[in-house]
């Protein structure tokens, strides 16, 4: 088995600028997405994901411009997520140079949109974000539900059943984020990652909660993830992506070094 597991740094962008503190050594302007992408590319990132948090619809043109500039000099896969609601949104992002889009809330409010997008652009570029929160009590068999609005709004949808449905509708990959762990640095929710990875045939990206390199190893080995996504451990120069990859390889995981 020589297909490598992937490390994907994730960046929040607002109006075409990187926000939420990216601050590593030697970078001139931590807000310039091109510079940050270039740096991660130099560190041998396998892909880069951008989460667009631009609130106003009108300002979204700046995201397209950003993607276009990055695609002109960083030759690894680029994924853009956040606020994608229509096939026109997707077409514009792909034309700008994105390789995949990650559909979040729109998949919950209108599952047919995922079907339509996959039919039109191919499953290979349709990632569906699964934002899950544990709803079972301690001692009960574990159960996770889909939440929207940053983990505040329950939908009543069972995360594993929903994941299967999204794959049937054409999702080519699932980005599984534990809303309990996101931002805690306590590690992935390995239970939900494993449950979904075992339930679907498509690749699963584990996300939410990475605080150290052992968490990345566990995401693959125990969570069964095909890729691991992290933000803060890379943004502040705590670890380089190369260090993380080497660490995972040292733990017997196939990596692209």
């Amino acid at each position: 088995m020589t297909l490598a597991k992937r490390i994907i740094p994730c960046l929040d962008v607002d109006r075409g600028r990187v926000v939420k503190g990216v601050n590593f050594l030697g970078i001139r302007d931590a807000g310039d997405p091109v510079e940050v992408a270039r740096r991660y590319n130099e560190q041998n990132a396998d892909e880069i994901t951008f989460l667009d948090i631009t609130a106003s619809h009108e300002a979204r043109g700046t995201t397209l411009d950003m993607v276009s500039r990055i695609a002109g000099e960083v030759f690894i896969p680029l994924t853009v997520g956040g606020g994608i609601r229509s096939c026109d949104n997707i077409r514009a992002l792909l034309n700008a140079g994105a390789d995949k889009v990650s559909i979040n809330t729109a998949a919950v409010t209108d599952p047919d949109f995922v079907y339509e997008a996959a039919e039109r652009f191919g499953s290979q570029c349709i990632v569906v974000a699964i934002d899950a929160k544990r709803v079972s009590e301690e001692g009960e068999p574990p159960r996770w539900e889909i939440f929207t609005h940053g983990g505040r709004k329950p939908t009543g949808l069972d995360a594993v059943t929903w994941s299967r449905k999204m794959v049937e509708y054409g999702a080519g990959e699932l980005l599984v984020t534990s809303m309990d762990r996101d931002g805690t640095r306590e590690g992935f929710d390995l239970g939900v990652t494993r449950a979904i990875s075992d339930a679907v045939s498509v690749p699963v990206i584990a996300s939410g909660g990475v605080g150290n390199l052992d968490h990345l190893v566990a995401g693959v080995k125990e969570g069964g993830a095909d890729a691991v996504l992290a933000a803060s451990i890379f943004h502040f120069g705590e670890y380089t992506i190369e260090q993380a990859k080497q660490y995972m390889a040292d733990h017997g995981i196939e990596m692209r070094l």
Partner: protein, 214 residues
């Protein structure tokens, strides 16, 4: 010198164009469906993404099928097929219930088995997505400066099996199948992976394509 990327409505052409521009700043790279521009180009790229039925259908709808077949016969004009652009060169694909393709190389396109397990007993995912090692089966000018076993970026569920060993330029083994991820014949070279997304190795392959005089 112009390099034409055939725009028949399928796929992300911007990335391919940017990557070729990056490795060959002196060439003109154009994304076009204009038959005259494509014929006049010194090199041609045939991309493809999504379902093969749609790719073949759109090629037909944009009235470019005949032109592409003509280009394939021209043994002096280099053509690079990428992703579904590689699959389309074969006789047929079993995707979408069976689709007849361009028939430039004998062979077929089949789906990976998505129930196969790896050595650790984990399910092998389909689509085959990520960086895998492409083993070089025959020497070719497009492999120049690239080590056998170098990693390239893949995203696909269907793969090519060429009937003629001479056409199989590179392969991967995945989910119990040997996939010919690089195929070639005369002035045509085609790859399943995305050189435009495969960092240094991919850029090298594109540079080799631009420098290739078959």
């Amino acid at each position: 010198m112009t390099i034409a990327i055939i725009d028949y409505g399928m796929g992300n052409l911007h990335s391919v164009a940017k990557a070729i521009e990056h490795v060959s700043p002196d060439e003109r790279v154009t994304i076009t469906r204009d038959a005259r521009a494509i014929k006049g180009a010194s090199r041609v790229v045939l991309p493809g993404q999504g379902a093969i039925r749609d790719c073949m259908g759109e090629l037909e709808r944009t009235e470019l099928t005949g032109l592409v077949k003509e280009l394939l016969k021209d043994a002096s004009k280099p053509l690079l097929g990428i992703c579904v652009g590689q699959q389309m060169l074969m006789d047929k694909s079993e995707e979408n219930g069976g689709v007849r393709c361009l028939g430039y190389m004998p062979g077929r396109v089949t789906r990976f088995n998505d129930t196969a397990l790896d050595e650790q007993g984990q399910r092998l995912k389909v689509p085959h997505m990520g960086w895998n090692r492409a083993h070089q089966h025959h020497m070719h000018p497009l492999w120049e400066g690239i080590l056998t076993g170098e990693r390239f970026y893949f995203v696909h569920s269907y793969f090519v099996q060429a009937d003629d060993d001479a056409h199989a330029m590179g392969y991967i083994d995945y989910a119990g199948s040997r996939a010919h991820v690089a195929t070639g014949r005369d002035a045509v070279f085609a790859v399943q992976f995305h050189p435009e997304k495969s960092a240094e190795a991919g850029l090298r392959l594109l540079a080799n394509f631009v420098a290739w005089s078959p």
